[in-house]
Structures are given as structure tokens and as C-alpha cells.
């Protein structure tokens, strides 16, 4: 549903080279209520958004699903991060910059502060002519001001209870993603000390952060399938 949002889709198409990959099947359940009402849904589905370099190295990860306004904002952060890192002359320099980024974000989150934010400012020469931009991590007070603005925007946005993108639970999930799950991700990427590929972190991410073990043959339904199995002792 996020990718059916015109603002998000346009932003992605304009600023990224997008690709989706299925990492595992998802279990589906069908509940027939017996009165011609049938409900189908998935269980234990989960997603992750990676920002990567052209060499396929991970810059940062957004775990889980976000509400649209926050997702768009984080996509902008990922774009700026790539722009900031891409200026490095070699991979070692790039890794150093990236480790510094993850360290500062981790410090902020462990101090119960929100994520630091990258901001792009125009750079002017002595003559006043604009010479590109510079990207910095913004101080916390600026972030607080932005958060207040985003809150106002959210409160005044037209709501539609039928639209899952405006579902209240999404805001809660977004907050957990930002404060808890991303903290674990920053720590893990920092521990690697080198640039890693998505394949090197995906299983860890799903098992430790999203709590969906990709190697689980029962797709996370083992307890449901076997806890009440009446013939367990007989078999």
C-alpha cells in the first residue's frame, strides 16, 4: 500500500533505483465464517528497506512498515546519506564515514534522543555564487522543531479509517521501528566495521530485529501447529 501512495512512488522513482526481493514465502490463513463471509490474511509478514550503493553495499536499513509521512521522510534521509557517503574517494573512507554515522545515531538513540537528521545546505563561494551543497547531521533542537511540525501535519491530515496507511497502529509501529529496531541495526552495522551486502545481514535482521527467522521451516507457526497437537506423545 505504501508503494501505491503517489507521493512515495514518485519520490522513489525520481531518487532511487528500486528493486524488491522476496526473502521467504509468507503463511496465509483463510477463515470461512460459514455465512459466505471469508477473510483471508497473511501471518507474520514483515518488510525491510535497504539503501545500498551501486556496488550493493548497505548504507542503512529501515525495518518494518512505516506510516507514509514518516516513510517519505526516512527515504529523504537515505538519499542524503548516499549523497554524503558517495563523495568518499575509496571504500575505506566510505566505511569510515558510515561507521561514524552509525555511531552518532546509536549514541543519540541510547541517550533516548531521536535520530539525528541529515540536512543539505547550499554552499556559497566568496563571491556568493552557489557551489553545490553540504550535508550535515542536524542538532537535536532542530529535529525537535521538525517533529513538532510533522505532528501538526499529521493531526490536520484528512483521515480515512478505511485506508490502512492511516491506521493508528502504523504510527506505533513506526515509533518502535525508529527507537528500538533501528538502534539494534545501527549497533550491528557498526560492529561489522566494514561495508556489508544485504545477504550478509538479512538473516540476522529478520531473526533478531523483526523476529521472523528465515530458516524456520514452519514460518513462525511452530507453536500454533504443534503446541496442542494431541498425538505428540503417541508419535
Amino acid at each position: 500500500m505504501l508503494f501505491s501512495n503517489e507521493n512515495i512512488a514518485t519520490y522513489i522513482n525520481f531518487n532511487f533505483e528500486p528493486v524488491w526481493v522476496s526473502v521467504r514465502p509468507v503463511p496465509r490463513v483463510t477463515i470461512d465464517f460459514g455465512n459466505d463471509v471469508i477473510v483471508k490474511r497473511t501471518l507474520h509478514g514483515n518488510v525491510a528497506t535497504y539503501a545500498c550503493t551501486a556496488e550493493g553495499k548497505v548504507l542503512d536499513i529501515l525495518p518494518g512498515i512505516y506510516e507514509p509521512v514518516a516513510y517519505l521522510d526516512r527515504l529523504e534521509q537515505l538519499r542524503l546519506l548516499h549523497k554524503w557517503i558517495a563523495g568518499a574517494r575509496d571504500e575505506a573512507t566510505m566505511a569510515g564515514l558510515l561507521m561514524g554515522y552509525h555511531q552518532r545515531q546509536l549514541d543519540s538513540l541510547e541517550s533516548n534522543q531521536p535520530h539525528l537528521k541529515l540536512a543539505e545546505y547550499p554552499m556559497a563561494s566568496i563571491t556568493g555564487a552557489e557551489q553545490g551543497t553540504r550535508i550535515v547531521l542536524e542538532p537535536a533542537r532542530r529535529i525537535a522543531a521538525r517533529r513538532a511540525a510533522a505532528h501538526t501535519e499529521r493531526a490536520t491530515a484528512p483521515g480515512d479509517s478505511r485506508d490502512l496507511a492511516n491506521w493508528e497502529a502504523l504510527f506505533i509501529d513506526t515509533s518502535v521501528n525508529e527507537q528500538i529496531r533501528r538502534r539494534d541495526i545501527h549497533r550491528h552495522l557498526l560492529e561489522q566495521q566494514v561495508l556489508v551486502t544485504p545477504e550478509q545481514v538479512t538473516k540476522w535482521l529478520y531473526r533478531e530485529v523483526l523476529h521472523a527467522d528465515l530458516d524456520d521451516p514452519y514460518l513462525g507457526l511452530g507453536n500454533v501447529l504443534f503446541d496442542n497437537y494431541p498425538f505428540a506423545n503417541r508419535d
Binding site: N13, F16, V21, V23, N46, A48, L78, P198, D235
Partner: protein
């Protein structure tokens, strides 16, 4: 001697049953040709205990492994072997094994035997399917949003080299281009 007496009594009983009294004689009376009626046998209740009706479980289990194959049966022209009275473990294979063996060809022989159903019992006739109107698949294909996705990560990385844009890799459980993901 006892066996001879038993046989004689059985013959006598058979003769009574078919109405032929000529063959019914008693030893020692043959010289006179006197017809006699055989003594009535006490009727014994039939042995219908569980052991006579059902085969012992141990035998049934051992027969499962050495039951003749279909080709053997055809060659000898004998009847299909009696279905063994076997336990749940033999008939069903437990859920863990079923899930673990999905996609493998390791289905137990007993399961194959149980699933030998005629085609019509399994598939609906084509006419019936066609007359039921458009079929809605279980998990229909949908457009994966409004994003212009690359086909795979390699092509996304190649495009990134040319455009200078970062790769946005979206991982998910299930398929983004299916309704239920």
C-alpha cells in the same frame, strides 16, 4: 483312530445335508444293510472372538512390508491383498515429516496407496470449470504499486552506476506482486 471317527461323523453329517442316506452306515452294521440315522452332534458356538475376526496387529504390521507389489499381483492373477489393519503412524505420516518433505519425492508407500483415486474424483471435469465463469486464483497477481521496479538487484546496481542514485532494496516475506503478501 480318533481322527477316523471324526471323519466318519463329518461324512455322515454331509450326507444328511444332501439327503443321501445310502452312504450313511455305521461300522459293524454294513453286513445287514440296515439304514441308521447318525447321532446328532451338539452344535458348538462359532469362535467369533476378536482374534479370529481381526488379524493380530503384529502380523498386520509385518505384512505391510512384505505385501506383494502390483506387478506381482497381475502376474499371478491373484486378488488384491487384504488391507492391513495398521496403526495411525503407518497410515498418516506426522505433520513435521509432511512439512519437512514438501517438494521431495519421499512420500511413503502407504500414503501413495491411500491416494490412488480415480482422476474424476480428484479433478473437476473441464466443462464444469469452464461453465463456472472466470476463475479467481487463490492469491491473484496485482500491480506492485506505482513504483518502477527493476527486475533484480543486479540490474538495479547497474542502473545505479549510471544514474548515481542509490539502490532502494525492498525485502519482504511473500511476493509484492500478489494480493496477499
Amino acid at each position: 483312530m480318533k481322527t477316523l471317527q471324526v471323519l466318519t461323523m463329518m461324512l455322515a453329517a454331509l450326507a444328511v445335508a444332501v439327503g443321501d442316506t445310502n452312504v450313511t452306515t455305521i461300522p459293524g452294521k454294513q453286513e445287514t444293510g440296515e439304514r441308521v440315522t447318525p447321532p446328532a452332534r451338539p452344535i458348538q458356538p462359532a469362535d467369533l472372538t476378536k482374534m479370529r475376526i481381526e488379524r493380530p496387529l503384529e502380523k498386520a504390521l509385518s505384512d505391510v512390508n512384505k505385501s506383494p507389489t502390483q506387478s506381482d499381483t497381475l502376474a499371478t492373477g491373484s486378488r488384491q491383498p487384504e488391507r492391513a489393519d495398521v496403526g495411525k503412524r503407518i497410515i498418516e505420516f506426522d505433520l513435521e515429516s509432511a512439512i519437512a518433505s514438501a517438494g521431495e519425492d519421499s512420500v511413503p508407500d502407504t500414503a501413495l496407496a491411500e491416494s490412488d483415486l480415480p482422476k474424476l474424483a480428484i479433478e473437476a471435469p473441464v466443462e464444469q470449470i469452464l461453465s463456472s465463469g472466470p476463475h479467481r486464483p487463490d492469491n491473484p497477481h496485482v500491480l506492485p504499486g506505482l513504483v518502477n521496479w527493476h527486475a533484480d538487484i543486479e540490474s538495479a546496481c547497474r542502473a545505479s552506476e549510471h544514474s548515481g542514485k542509490p539502490v532502494l532494496l525492498f525485502h519482504l516475506l511473500g511476493q509484492l506482486d500478489q494480493e496477499f503478501t
